[in-house]
């Protein structure tokens, strides 16, 4: 089944894909056609989104990586769509209308890494306190000693 | 005994207070037994003083008034509620001699005071000026009004059967026949009592998980204690009326009357505690449907039945 998807993705989009693990297919996608690709994958039966996993590779000079992990609940297969971003341009089109459950995941990725999902209606602080907006704590460059909450002065 | 001594000591305030501490203790112990726990244990012998300690804890607490609340009404409402419920108890004969007042319209008086409680509790929610209190207040009015109709109807059935409203006369007239004839009325009365006094499974106005503590949310310390106490006394009064009307009050062999009265009362309470441990809370719309579509028609039918029986007997 994953072989079929691999061939079809190659034919339709021209994206390379490789087996990631047993049951998991890794697709190297591009930012501009990620929406089309995810729509295509949903039609293929990968209709249960797991998460958006962002990896910060900036210390290694590679920018950011956005992984969409989708599951086919009935065929029991996974697909992982990987989009690489450069450090200067952290924007990805949002897929909240294709996969509604991914909307909060996009929100989390935005507040933790600062990746902007264009079209997401609700990019606001969710897990972090209000004062921590824009600190992007899961980035490798985040120094937790610097960003302490300004403590109340003692009486 | 002097009248004022009666009101103050027995069967007045002091007696009432001890009875309530014991009822509260009993509730905790029974619930703990059902939960397979030990319950209160360390304060006093078998934890008997635990509830007393809790009362003193509440007395020590700070007197908090919500900023937006009406200060006068907020502090006044608990006392109004308390005075009203204590008046109910004054009419109840615990034995042949131990009562504060006895009139020819005892039953009417108690039921009228019970009916008067609903606006008091609603105001308690209203003057708190808090969302949850307000919803709790609305719920309590809804619930009490729909519970009062069956309560009145079933109590009136007993009054029709005995032909009097005086409690002591009712007790003297009661017999095994009256118990059997009034059994349906008794069941309706107990259910209505649970509804009126917000006992589980009808604790909708105070539903902790839905509206925090309903109209009690903003009250703390002494105020809270008084309000909760008045709720408890209300149930106590209604149950006492139930015991008098349907279970023969202080009548009973060998033991003194007051002991029989409290044995019967304790059985009723035991029933409510076990119900509390097994029956989940129902929803407001379900309660209203139950009250108006099931309980009230049943109570009316029961009234007709009792009148027919009365016709045949006389």
């Amino acid at each position: 089944m994953l072989e079929d998807v691999k061939v079809k993705v190659k034919e339709t989009f021209g994206f390379e894909s490789e087996p990631y693990d047993t049951n998991v297919l890794l697709i190297h996608a591009e930012r501009n056609s990620v929406r089309k690709l995810l729509k295509f994958l949903k039609e293929q039966g990968f209709n249960y989104p797991h998460t958006i996993s962002v990896v910060d590779y900036t210390p290694k000079g590679e920018g950011f990586q956005v992984n969409y992990i989708l599951e086919n609940l009935f065929e029991k297969k996974f697909v992982m769509v990987r989009v690489n971003l450069t450090e200067g341009d952290l924007t990805v089109p949002s897929v909240h209308d294709i996969f509604p459950p991914l909307q909060p995941h996009e929100r989390e990725a935005w507040e933790m890494f600062g990746i902007e999902f264009i079209g997401n209606p609700r990019l606001e602080v969710m897990l972090l306190p209000d004062w921590a907006e824009g600190l992007y704590p899961l980035r490798k460059s985040y120094d937790f000693k610097k960003h302490r909450k300004p403590s109340k002065e003692k009486k | 005994m002097e009248a004022w001594l009666k009101a103050l000591l027995f069967p007045g305030f002091v007696f009432l207070l001890i009875v309530f501490l014991m009822i509260f203790y009993l509730e905790r112990k029974v619930l703990a037994d059902v939960h397979l726990r030990t319950g209160p244990f360390y304060v006093g012998k078998w934890g008997l003083l635990q509830t007393t300690a809790d009362v003193f804890k509440l007395l020590q607490k700070e007197f908090v008034i919500q900023r937006r609340a009406n200060k006068l009404l907020f502090s006044l409402i608990p006392f109004v509620a308390f005075i009203m419920v204590v008046m109910m108890v004054a009419f109840i004969p615990f034995s042949e001699r131990s009562w504060v007042v006895s009139t020819s319209f005892d039953l009417l008086m108690v039921l009228a005071l019970v009916t008067g409680m609903s606006p008091v509790f609603f105001y308690a929610g209203w003057v708190s000026r808090s969302k949850y209190s307000f919803i709790g207040g609305l719920r309590v009015v809804n619930q009490m009004i729909s519970g009062e109709i069956p309560l009145w109807l079933s109590a009136l059935a007993a009054a029709v059967f005995f032909g009097t409203l005086n409690f002591i006369e009712i007790v003297h007239k009661s017999s095994l026949v009256s118990f059997i004839v009034l059994l349906p009325a008794f069941l309706i009365f107990t259910t209505a009592a649970l509804i009126i006094s917000d006992r589980p499974p009808f604790d909708i106005p105070e539903a902790e998980q839905e509206v925090v503590y309903g109209f009690l949310t903003e009250f703390g310390g002494f105020n809270y204690m008084i309000l909760v106490l008045s709720k408890l006394i209300e149930l106590f009064a209604i149950f006492s009326v139930g015991v008098i009307l349907f279970l023969g009050g202080f009548k009973g062999p060998i033991l003194p009357g007051i002991v029989w009265f409290f044995i019967k009362l304790a059985l009723l309470y035991l029933f409510t505690f076990v119900v509390r441990a097994s029956t989940p809370r129902i929803r407001m719309d379900q309660l209203l449907r139950f009250c108006w579509k099931v309980l009230t028609p049943l109570a009316l039918l029961n009234l007709v039945f009792v009148i027919l029986v009365k016709m045949f007997i006389s």
Binding site: V54, I69 | H35, E210, P280, R283
Partner: protein, 389 residues
């Protein structure tokens, strides 16, 4: 209700219905009352649900989470491969074995370490015991929000027996940190097996009959839960429900069966599903899964092989990554673990099932009564530590 209150000068925060629900209601426009269901609320736990009510009807809810955020994903980056387990297990205190097992399997996959068979079996026993421990609290929680605390207390008695077994095994009752990359940390002694069998015996012979005859098929419980928070099969997949909630809607999704890990491939068990998809179905799924887990534990104890329980795990793990799922008590927990060749994880992304469920709430809580909010909330069986991580 709305307009009359506003007219009487009552100063609640009332909001235009149109603004809240986003739909044009024309002349029917009313003002709504916003309730803060949480953070300090008897049934909410450390999270807030903004509930807009019209009288007794809920118009819209909006979860506000993040009150127990610990940034576990960041903390893991400061740990070594072995001692990262103390962060992973703290995703939720109720079932800590599942998360540790998932992390360990991911780390072993990257390092290419083969785990001894005995460790696999011990992991299975522990994970299932953790599931039982967690589900017992879940059962109590669902009935508990309806004002009856008896189920919670009875469930805690059965839970204590399992915690005793954990203590014999690892020395702690909760937060056992007992599953590490490379196996398990402690030898499953005879005493541990004995305690575990005692616990399962108690569960099957005392707890299940006692609980089942009162709180299963309870008429009052049924009128409160049947048909409440109904989610169809398609809807459940679309809004991304996870775990018992997904299975209660009729989707047979169970990682233990679909992608067997540990010793699950060799054991015989069935995936509990129900078709109704309402709060009562979710309650029954928990109830049946407890019995199923007890059977798995018995099988695993019977088939416990001899041999080593731990192999050496390298200090430095070669670069690589893995995405591993485990069936946690609350659903499918995913670990996207990345190594850069260092002494600790480079990045760990945890896919939390409760996070998926909490964002399904706005869809499920449409046109319900205010009194149903806690029921639906508890029946989705979420853990706040898991939502926030």
């Amino acid at each position: 209700m709305g307009n009359s209150i506003a007219a009487s000068g009552y100063t609640f925060v009332l909001e235009e219905r149109k603004e809240v629900s986003g739909e044009d209601l024309g002349l029917l426009q009313e003002k709504l009352l916003q309730l803060n269901w949480g953070v300090q609320h008897p049934a909410s736990g450390p999270m807030r649900l903004k509930v807009w009510v019209d009288g007794d009807e809920v118009v819209k809810v909006d979860p506000d989470i993040g009150y127990v955020l610990r940034l576990l994903e960041k903390l893991v980056e400061y740990r070594t491969w072995i001692n990262a387990i103390v962060n992973v297990e703290r995703a939720c205190f109720m079932d800590d074995f599942g998360t540790m097992a998932g992390y360990s399997i991911a780390a072993e996959k990257i390092a290419g370490v083969e785990v001894p068979k005995k460790a696999d079996y011990v992991r299975t026993i522990l994970c299932e015991a953790g599931r039982i421990v967690s589900h017992l609290l879940g059962l109590g929680g669902i009935v508990g929000v309806l004002g009856v605390h008896t189920p919670t207390q009875w469930a805690l008695i059965a839970r204590e027996k399992f915690l005793d077994a954990f203590e014999v095994y690892s020395g702690q009752r909760i937060a056992t940190s007992s599953i590490v990359p490379g196996g398990v940390r402690f030898e499953p002694t005879g005493k541990f097996i004995e305690k575990m069998v005692t616990a399962v015996d108690f569960l099957e012979k005392e707890f299940i009959p006692r609980y089942g005859e009162v709180f299963i098929d309870n008429p009052t419980l049924k009128i409160r839960t049947v048909g409440i928070g109904k989610v169809s099969k398609e809807k459940a997949v679309e809004i991304g429900l996870a775990g018992p909630a997904l299975r209660a809607s009729g989707v047979p999704s169970d990682v233990r069966k679909d992608y067997p890990y540990a010793a699950y491939g060799e054991l015989d068990f069935k995936v509990v599903t129900r078709e109704e998809g309402d709060a009562y179905a979710r309650y029954l799924v928990l109830w049946e899964e407890i019995q199923e887990s007890a059977k798995i534990i018995r099988q695993a104890i019977e088939g416990l092989p001899e041999g080593d329980y731990r192999t050496k795990f390298p200090v430095k793990v070669p670069p690589g990554e893995a995405y591993v799922n485990v069936e946690w008590a609350r659903g499918c927990f995913g670990f996207h673990l990345i190594s850069d060749g260092g002494t600790g994880p480079y990045r760990l992304k945890m896919r939390a099932p409760s996070f998926a469920n909490v964002w399904a709430l706005p869809e499920i809580m449409k046109n319900v009564k205010l009194a149903d909010v806690p029921v639906i909330f508890a029946s989705l069986y979420m853990c706040h530590g898991d939502i926030d991580r």
